[in-house]
């Protein structure tokens, strides 16, 4: 018997428990799917053997009646997660050949829950990018295409572009992502899937290649909200190895999905109506309001007055942390090391190693980061940005103190764009992709992107819900209510 494709985690879980097919059969189906999906360039490494081994172990647990929700579920893993003995390069040449002797806490938890690893997923180099184009492996491709340009390759977004493409293309049931400024939510919106950025500290960062430590969070990228709830439950939890991980119990997120949001107060922030935003995004947002109102929520207009400073503050803080976090890639202990010539020393080794190993966007951010931290500029940039960050956080605190339960915004300022379309643009145009998402990272809040409609070109569009800290359960339930009313049943037509 062969296992079918197109199932959600919840459907597969129920079928596996019922014995409709085995975990091994499901793994075989997806090992093949992942390999067939080569043109999407989503998988950069396949771990098929490991997948089958894990599937057999999952079958044993299923048989024994000891099968957690993720048991036997085939997943793709973003290349930012350290996976023991499996290449982990953060899609960068500087980590060429790196196979960690350790497993990240989040993936360890998934494997402990019985999940199956199909392979590693493409991403922007060191998670720096919004289109997956900075990857050393070349861009992942969005399974979706424009009606009027069916041959043009579109970006799946970034940085978790490979994860988004793999889930949207049904190369795996779900994938891990990481989100520093929108890297889960933007690609989810670009590919018509669901993506959650949990509260900062909900998922352990141990074993995830660091980009910006105070902003990075791992989260699930799934077909729907229920799957996100199931997978987040398996990923989350306190980790004493990560000092910023919160020692809080993980609630049963799936159990919170009642769809009942009557009386919930949903805030619509006026500052998110940005200049030049396409009318269809405006319409999508209005539709989302109506859907939540229809579900019985109270819609209120709110103000988050410091929103316009968020993007500049983000592009000071994130590069500052990155410039320091990436200092370890020096060619001394692992990864790429440049050859040096007679008479050259350690300085030349550093310079050439990093010049050869890092791509342009990573170099740009390291330079920005080093600049904003340097003597004489620290106060004007880094310190100022931290103050802005505090103000942005306060904006949210005020709104929540006033009784708002969640905030509804567009997830992205546009639908997916073409690969290479931004190549000649000012890098700041690319950074504008994060305009709706960075505030959430700066404030450490949970956010979720849910597909709610299609663009005129037939591309998926998503809305973002932002929740109260640590109240992912409530946020997921609000998203669930939105999802039900949006009833987004579209799929990318297979062309690959």
């Amino acid at each position: 018997m062969t296992a079918p494709r197109g199932l959600t985690i919840a459907q597969a879980r129920d079928a596996l428990r019922k014995g409709a097919f085995t975990a091994r059969e499901l793994a075989e189906t997806y090992v093949a799917a992942a390999e067939e999906g080569a043109r999407l360039n989503a998988f950069i490494a396949h771990t098929s053997e490991q997948a089958l081994k894990q599937a057999d172990a999952a079958d044993a647990r299923l048989k024994a009646g000891d099968a957690p929700a993720m048991c036997g579920i085939p997943l793709g893993i973003k290349d930012l997660f350290a996976t023991e003995g499996v290449q982990t390069q953060a899609a960068s040449n500087i980590l060429a050949g790196f196979r960690p002797p350790y497993e990240s806490t989040v993936t360890r938890k998934l494997w402990d829950a019985g999940a199956v690893m199909l392979g590693k997923l493409n991403m922007d180099e060191f998670a720096m990018g919004s289109s997956n184009e900075t990857s050393a492996y070349g861009p992942a491709i969005n399974p979706w295409r424009r009606k009027d340009a069916p041959d043009t390759n579109l970006t799946p977004g970034g940085s978790s572009g490979g994860s988004a493409a793999a889930v949207a293309g049904d190369l795996c049931l779900a994938a891990t992502g990481t989100d520093t400024g929108g890297s889960i939510r933007q690609p989810a919106a670009f590919t018509g899937i669901t993506g959650v950025k949990p509260t900062y500290g909900r998922c352990s960062r141990w074993g995830i290649v660091a980009f910006a430590s105070s902003l990075d969070q791992a989260g699930p990228m799934t077909r729907d909200v229920r799957d996100a709830a199931i997978m987040l439950g398996a990923m989350a939890g306190h980790d004493p190895m990560d000092s910023t991980s919160a020692d809080l119990a993980v609630p049963d997120f799936e159990a919170a999905l009642t769809g009942d949001i009557r009386g919930r107060k949903i805030g619509i922030p006026r500052e998110y109506r940005v200049e030049g935003m396409p009318a269809e995004i405006e319409t999508l947002w209005a539709e989302g309001r109506a859907m939540l109102a229809d579900a019985g929520a109270e819609i209120v207009d709110i103000s988050l007055p410091h929103t316009r400073y968020a993007l500049p503050a983000y592009y000071v803080i994130a590069p500052a942390e990155a410039s320091s976090n990436l200092a370890r890639y020096d060619g001394v202990r692992y990864g790429h090391r440049a050859k040096i010539r007679q008479g050259e020393g350690i300085t030349e080794m550093y310079e050439r190693t990093r010049a050869e190993g890092f791509g342009d966007e990573v170099k740009r951010r390291i330079m920005i980061g080093a600049y904003v931290l340097s003597a004489g500029y620290y106060d004007a940039y880094y310190k100022k940005a931290q103050k802005v960050r505090t103000l942005i956080k306060r904006d949210f605190e005020q709104v929540y103190a006033d009784g708002v339960d969640a905030i509804l915004t567009p997830a992205t300022p546009s639908a997916a764009f073409g690969i290479g379309e931004m190549a000649d643009a000012d890098p700041i145009r690319m950074y504008l992709n994060d305009v709706f998402t960075v505030t959430v990272n700066l404030s450490g809040l949970p956010g979720i992107a849910v597909p709610t409609g299609l663009s005129s070109q037939g591309l998926p569009l998503g809305l973002q819900l932002i929740g109260r800290p640590w109240e992912e359960a409530d946020l997921l339930n609000t998203a669930y209510a939105l999802e039900k009313r949006a009833d987004f049943a579209h799929h990318a037509e297979k062309w690959w």
């Binding site: 000092s243 931290l373 880094y382």
Partner: protein, 503 residues
Amino acid sequence: MSELSYTEPKPKTIAGAREDWELVIGMEVHAQVKSTAKLFSGASTTFGAEPNTNVALVDAAMPGMLPVINEFCVEQAVRTGLGLKAGINLFSQFDRKNYFYPDLPQGYQISQLYHPIVGEGEVIVDMEPGVARRVRIERIHLEQDAGKSIHDMDPTMSFVDLNRTGVALMEIVSRPDIRGPEEAAEYVRKLRQILRYLDTCDGNMQEGSLRADVNVSVCRPGAYETYRETGDFGHLGTRCEIKNMNSMRFIQQAIDFEARRQIAILEDGGKIDQETRLYDPTRGETRSMRSKEEAHDYRYFPDPDLLPLTIQQSWVDRIRASLPELPDQKKARFVQDYGMTEYDASVLTAETANATFFEQVATGRDGKTAANWVINELFGRLNKEGHGIADSPVSAAQLGTIIDLIARGDISGKIAKDLFEILWTEGGNPAQIVEDRGMKQVTDTGAIEAAVDDVLAANPDKAAQAREKPSMAGWFVGQVMKATGGKANPKAVNEIIRAKLGI
């Protein structure tokens, strides 16, 4: 227990070719925290292990690895702060100091620039009895040590040993209150003594557990006092920092050289460049390492991998309650309780183990006698043989018994020294040895009288002379002592001889 009063010493003056100069010295001492594990990892801190064996994943800065604070190291820093009478900051924070070096895997050192764990304290630096310098401590912060680069193992390659990477250091920063090379060395010695009392640093300078960066400047007499009144560093000269000194002797030599170098420049009409210098002990000079312009831009910022370190006052109070008696208090108590000199008290309190040994000997006995025996006989002998108190062949109980035997009149002081020698080489029960080997002092006057009679009878001429010249009696005492094998009570012998001679 109160502390002894003291007066401050005069600053060291160096006569230049034209005028007199004074020295102003501040120190940054890096003390390795005594802890079995590193500051942010569980790797061992054992010295002398095979290269790269005490290395956790985070020490090697593997991708995605995160630091987790070792609470014991924090406790040790707090304990050290309390021992230096310093304020403890309940809120402190770790910052990253960014620079590239092969023995710094992360590309940054985790340190505490903006919010150190310990604030202002003091060290009383003893110079001689009754004279001490109060050196103010500005701050103590926790930071990671770096690894070791090895350049002399291969002609074309360098090697890196990460065993020391991430080991916890306390950087103890003084104010510029040290006024001469000797004071600088004594400051390090006193700091080391306190840290060893607190058991927060083993103070082993050869192994690099204690290293000092020394800031030296010179000024005209009176300028320093103006600085102290105003707090304005502008009254002081430009300083140079001599890095990484790990010997008291070299500290003194380097300061002396550096001060004279600066004076020569100033008297020549030149000016001092603020710079970092290294001391070369073989040539006895300091050399420029890098100038202010070449100084690194460390791009400090709060480490986002670590939450601010907040500790509870109640925890600090518990640590305070567990502090041992510290050198200054112990010394004062010894002077007051045992009536010994400040000098003897200093010798006995140099190390906790010495003081403990002494107190075991002195308990229930005369303090001064005990101090004499411990310092002169025991320490003298230990020093001669290169032993520490821990491997003393003579125990406190044995030494105490010797003193008891003297006090009871069982043995003379001279015999006691023989007994000490027997215990040192052979060991055993002192009272038993005295008994078995017939070392007991003869106090039986009958026996002494008989011995005196014999001597007098054998030397009639001398006896006659002695009656004329009483100072001759001493000769007879010696003869009688010789005849009794030294066991006769000399006082009794003297009295009997004088009685028999009628003098």
